[in-house]
């Protein structure tokens, strides 16, 4: 690996300076640092070379396929970046007068509106900064709803075992009690078993649709009706909305509340881990509880609505990740109604095509027909001493990113693949051919997998040592 930026530091080098003559502050010593901070001393050309070199060590969507299941690593359109960089947006301060931010309020209003159309819901807040933050917000809204109805004792949140781990963690922070429900033999909710779990203490059923196996809950309206019958709410984790947009609206299926991931479905870049955006959409009975401040129309323009007593307070310092809204709205406007429907169609076509090409070598336990993603199993290669992890690592040698692995837990040696709609047939075939080659290698030369990767910037990294003795900063300031 390249040296850290600290090792490149030499006293007397300077990068970006704005005030070489600034005087030492006139403050008593007790307030001041008593030594150097330990930041590096490097020049701008050095900084550029350092971070450009680091950048070349990454896999990224603009390089090749990123088939991570449930992550929707689709192409991130470049025009969206130009939109977000417009100085009329990026230079706005959140405490400005409403009259000076009409364009921005319009963006918030219009994106909320478009997401309501896509979801079939009645109202949307954009505030949550990520999908998990959206889950938490949606559940806080649900809790406020029950509190207002005089039912604070409703605390049970039912979550399938195939759900993402953020679901139970979010329920806990919202002050609710997560409970696991087990998937049926077909990978979907066991409706009879679910009914037995429903009672007057159930606050929320939290479902991912399609679920993490890439399956649509075909008895969904029966399920949501059963939850409503005991007075509970239905939450949809919208992580997999890329399969549904333009095809079906969660609001029509009986969901009361859901969140989106703009960084998945609506193509905003993942940024190596963020910033994301996790808007929450609700039916009208939950709208009074959405976190403020809310944007509303006022004459020809927009304003922040006066705070109302029922609303839960904000979940973010300001209005959420506004810069991400711009990209998502630009994407929606670029695609339009027909493009949105086309995108989910192609996403599902691509996933099914790959499932068909891989299914013989990598069995797909829960059926051959999926939506935007599928979960195959690498279990049959265990007899050659090969695990799914090894298959994934071998893919890195061939220039692809690995799929999601070992999730959901209901599939042994799970390999979860989501190609997205932005891949060409050639890329899909190249990936499928590679996977089939790897299957052959697993039988004939298993060591090529168990020792993989060998062509990457580094090889397998020792996680155990890192867990036992984490080293999370560069050596001390004295050694720079």
């Amino acid at each position: 690996m390249p040296d850290t930026i600290y090792k490149k530091s030499r006293p007397g080098r300077h990068g970006f300076r704005v005030a070489p003559d600034a005087p030492k502050p006139d403050l008593p010593d007790e307030f001041l640092r008593d030594g150097p901070i330990g930041l590096p001393e490097v020049t701008e050309p050095q900084v550029m070379r350092h971070y450009v070199e680091l950048s070349t060590l990454n896999h990224h969507v603009d390089k090749d396929l990123y088939p991570l299941g449930s992550c929707t690593m689709k192409y991130n359109p470049k025009v969206n970046e130009e939109v977000a960089a417009l100085a009329g947006f990026s230079g706005l301060h959140p405490e400005q007068d409403e009259r000076d931010v009409q364009g921005a309020l319009g963006v918030i209003h219009d994106l909320e509106d478009q997401l309501a159309v896509v979801s079939g819901m009645d109202a949307v807040t954009l505030q949550p900064a990520a999908g998990a933050h959206g889950e938490l917000t949606g559940l806080i809204v649900a809790r406020a709803y029950f509190g207002n109805r005089g039912e604070p004792g409703r605390t049970r949140v039912l979550i399938p075992d195939s759900a993402h781990g953020t679901n139970p963690a979010s329920a806990k922070i919202a002050g609710l009690e997560p409970e696991t429900i087990h998937s049926g033999a077909d990978g979907r909710i066991d409706v009879a078993a679910l009914r037995e779990r429903l009672d007057n203490d159930v606050a929320v059923l939290m479902l991912t649709v399609p679920n993490t196996l890439g399956l649509f809950e075909d008895r969904i309206t029966e399920i949501t009706a059963a939850v409503h019958k005991v007075g509970g709410l239905c939450y949809m984790d919208g992580t997999n909305m890329n399969a549904l947009m333009g095809q079906v609206r969660p609001g029509d299926l009986g969901f009361d509340v859901m969140h989106f991931n703009l960084h998945k479905t609506f193509s905003t870049p993942h940024g190596g881990g963020g910033p994301g955006s996790g808007p929450v959409a609700v039916k009208s009975h939950l709208e009074p509880f959405l976190p403020g401040p809310r944007v509303q129309r006022a004459g020809d323009g927009f304003r922040f609505a006066p705070q109302s007593v029922l609303r839960v307070g904000p979940v973010h310092s300001f209005f959420g990740n506004f810069g991400i809204y711009l990209r998502a709205l630009a994407y929606i406007m670029r695609l339009g109604a027909d493009g949105i429907r086309h995108a989910s169609q192609v996403a599902c076509l691509n996933a099914n095509y790959l499932a068909r090409r891989l299914g013989d070598e990598y069995p797909i336990p829960y059926g051959q027909r999926c939506m935007h993603e599928f979960v195959a199993s690498g279990d049959r290669f265990r007899e050659y001493g090969v695990r799914t992890l090894d298959i994934a690592k071998r893919l890195l040698d061939y220039g692809f990113h690995a799929p999601t692995m070992y999730f959901p837990l209901v599939v042994q040696e799970a390999i979860m693949v989501e190609p997205t709609e932005t891949e060409t047939l050639e890329t899909l075939d190249r990936f499928a051919d590679t996977m089939l080659d790897i299957a052959r290698e697993a039988r004939e030369h298993p060591e090529r997998l168990t020792l993989a990767p060998t062509r990457t910037p580094v090889r397998r990294v020792d996680e155990t040592m890192a867990n036992r003795h984490p080293v999370i900063t560069a050596p001390g300031r004295e050694s720079t």
Binding site: V47, S55, L92, Q96, G246, L349, R459, N467, T473
Partner: protein
């Protein structure tokens, strides 16, 4: 259609491989009565030039603070963003990568986070830092939950000088956890009333939050009460402004157990308040209780230095409801910007920047203090932000100044009601010059 690329031949080939007539059959598991027959009620797609035109018009309907003479602060600041920061952050290698779960092909992101953690650790003088949080408000909320978990206590003391927007978010996270929040008043000088703080320290107190400089700009002296906080068995939680740590004593030096802060000023645009960048650092003892992603140095099987995500057993994808937090992402690209920013300014540039902010803020404060009917609300020391008392309602002052193209600051009645109706929060950065200050003074107290 934009961004999809199948030809009709491709499509037919794929349908044939699947043995179906049309894509419709892929959606057969959706109850037929709920399948959308028509397109969604939205417009048809636009071309790229049409799209840009629409957004240019929307942008033109704004009057951005960055292009005006603005003294708005309160958590988001208009510092200069070096061109090299924008350039690096726009590289697709960083922007279009996912979370670095596959370490072998993510060493770029992982090393950047490692350097970010090191920068944050050095700024705060705390040994442990995570890969970032959404913003300061949620970082503080997580720190408060962490203090309660670690101490198994359920009261947290918040100073009256805490950013009101952070307080609101902390309340949201605490409602579900039965954590009681109690307020600590300020002294006449504008810092925490240490005697009142001591009075409130009892065996129920999990944590004491100190924002320094506080929302009103005043720099605290936490070293005068940090022992008392620790003697009471509570954790000391610092809310910092990373720019101020260029010159001010770091939280680790005065006994903070956890430090959080808003790092938007480190190379981030204001973006109407988001995306922001929450930072979080803590003592070694607390590392396994900290939420969020952490990167560690390690080695690969050939013994080469390499980086990897670590201590993931704290995280929700493994621990589910027993996780230390529900947070799953970090603010990766914002953290990348902050890393490049601090590397680029370096020791010299960053200290000079802090000094420059301090000097400029004090120059403006002196000019305003000399105006008839205006003064400084607090006599405590400040860094680059301070409260001005006005001769009339601060919101009227702000409106009048706006007419002259000057964004004078935040009228405190917005958050604190009529008792502070004549108070105005004014922030200064290195981008201001004397002419800007003269414009503000002229707007506050027009000649004649």
């Amino acid at each position: 259609m934009p961004y999809t690329s199948h030809t009709e031949d491709d499509r037919l080939k794929m349908l044939h491989a699947l043995g179906i007539e049309s894509e419709d059959e892929l959606f057969a598991s959706i109850p037929v009565e709920h399948r959308l027959r028509d397109l969604l009620a939205m417009e048809t797609g636009r071309t790229e030039p049409e799209l840009m035109r629409s957004f240019r018009e929307r942008a033109a309907a704004n009057r951005p603070a960055a292009a005006a003479v603005s003294f708005l602060g309160g958590g988001v600041y208009d510092h200069a963003v070096p061109a090299a920061v924008r350039n690096i952050a726009s590289r697709p290698e960083f922007a279009t990568a996912y979370t670095p779960y596959q370490a072998e092909v993510s060493q770029g992101t992982l090393q950047v986070i490692f350097e970010f953690q090191t920068h944050v650790s050095r700024l705060t003088e705390l040994p442990v830092a995570n890969a970032s949080m959404y913003d300061a408000a949620t970082a503080l909320a997580e720190a408060v939950l962490m203090a309660a978990r670690v101490t198994r206590r359920n009261t947290v003391l918040l100073p009256a000088s805490l950013n009101p927007r952070y307080r609101a978010v902390v309340e949201r996270y605490c409602e579900g956890q039965s954590i009681a929040l109690r307020s600590v008043p300020l002294s006449e000088a504008g810092d925490i009333d240490a005697a009142a703080l001591r009075d409130r320290l009892d065996e129920s107190v999990a944590g004491v939050v100190v924002q320094t400089p506080g929302y009103f700009g005043v720099i605290e002296k936490p070293w005068t009460f940090s022992d008392a906080v620790h003697d009471a068995g509570a954790l000391l939680v610092a809310v910092t402004d990373p720019i101020s740590l260029s010159i001010l004593r770091a939280p680790g030096s005065w006994g903070a157990d956890i430090a959080v802060g808003e790092a938007q000023p480190l190379g981030g645009d204001m973006n109407f308040g988001g995306p922001l960048l929450g930072i979080m650092a803590c003592t070694n003892k607390l590392i396994r209780r900290m939420p969020g992603r952490i990167v560690s140095a390690s080695t690969d099987v050939d013994g080469r230095d390499a980086y990897v995500l670590t201590l993931q057993t704290r995280e929700q994808h493994i621990r589910r409801e027993k996780a230390s937090s529900n947070i799953c992402s970090n603010q990766g690209l914002m953290a990348t910007r902050a890393t490049v920013y601090l590397s680029l300014l370096g020791e010299t540039g960053f200290v000079e920047l802090g000094r420059s902010c301090f000097a400029a803020a004090h120059q403006l404060a002196a000019m305003i203090d000399a105006l008839d009917g205006y003064g400084l609300r607090y006599r405590g020391p400040f860094f680059r932000e301070f409260v001005v008392t006005c001769r009339r309602d601060a919101s009227d002052v702000v409106h009048a100044a706006r007419e002259r193209g000057v964004f004078a600051g935040i009228p405190l009645s917005r958050y604190f009601g009529p008792s502070r109706r004549r108070e105005l929060l004014v922030a200064v950065t290195e981008k201001h010059n004397t002419a800007d200050f003269e414009l503000l003074c002229e707007a506050l107290a027009p000649a004649g």
